[in-house]
Amino acid sequence: MRRVIMIGLMIAFLGGCTTSTFLIAKENDTRAYRFGSTSKRLKRILCESGDFKRVLRDAEIPEHLKPQFYEYVCTESVSKEKVVSLYQFLTPDERKSLKRAFVKHGYTVNYVPC
């Protein structure tokens, strides 16, 4: 039990003190990814499937940010730093809306508080 608590504290400490985004996992997928990760597998799941376009369509975030999010997540200009910055630019309500849009389209979301 103590070991579990120690591991949990370590994860919370390391994860909670970094500026970042949040974790996403496609339903029935055993792996979670940080939104903005440059993982090729995530790109396949999120981008090639068309999921991210649908997520952005439904997210209530400023329209001019949507093509930027798409560019830095799904194109050759992929950039974790830009995705983090775009996410940090969102208001708390806009962030919630983005996460709800992910959930709507079959993803689970774990928010890592900072």
Partner: protein, 172 residues
């Protein structure tokens, strides 16, 4: 025995990682991206026109609690050194001018508050990774330090740093 070993390892990891998490890494001097933004009262500010001055560039939002907590210390800093040429610029990323105006009516500050409602400077120029974010720019237009998170801009350490910059050196 195994149990005790795991606990020891966990403690060691904490001790090794803690400094990395807490300390803001100093940024190697890089040129501060130029920008032009308008203040809430309609005045235009260009960073390039402030060459020769020490600039404290602070990104904030009315919905960011740590941002609001550090603002009084920024205001104190500005009042202390404005006569010596220090420039403090607060860049709000709120969506609407009215929101910022409403906040400032109840919480006035002496330094200019600029509006970056579309994120052109926050995202495209500075790629800011958190709020609040503060960049210290020397007279040559170089970023000599940057911080993510709340700071006390009236701490002795920071005041000494600013004094050094105002005198023309880096002060550290």
């Amino acid at each position: 025995m195994r149990y005790f070993g795991f606990t020891r390892i966990t403690v060691i990891v904490f001790i090794l990682v803690l400094p990395l998490v807490i300390l803001s890494p100093a940024v190697a001097d890089e040129k501060a991206p130029d920008f032009t933004l308008t203040s809430v009262n309609g005045t235009s500010y260009s960073l390039s026109k402030l060459r020769g001055k020490v600039v404290v560039l602070n990104f904030w939002a009315t919905w960011c609690a740590p941002c609001l907590e550090e603002m009084p210390t920024l205001d104190s800093l500005y009042k202390r050194y404005r006569q010596r040429g220090l420039v403090v610029l607060g860049v709000s990323i709120d969506r609407k001018r009215e929101t910022v105006e409403g906040f400032l009516e109840k919480n006035p500050v002496s330094y200019p508050i600029l509006l970056d409602t579309k994120g052109e400077v926050f995202v495209n120029k500075y790629t800011v990774s958190g709020l609040p974010a503060t960049y210290i720019i020397d007279g040559k237009g170089l970023i000599v330090d940057q911080y993510i998170g709340k700071r006390d801009f009236t701490s002795e350490d920071f005041l000494q740093f600013i004094e050094g910059l105002l005198k023309g050196g880096y002060g550290r």
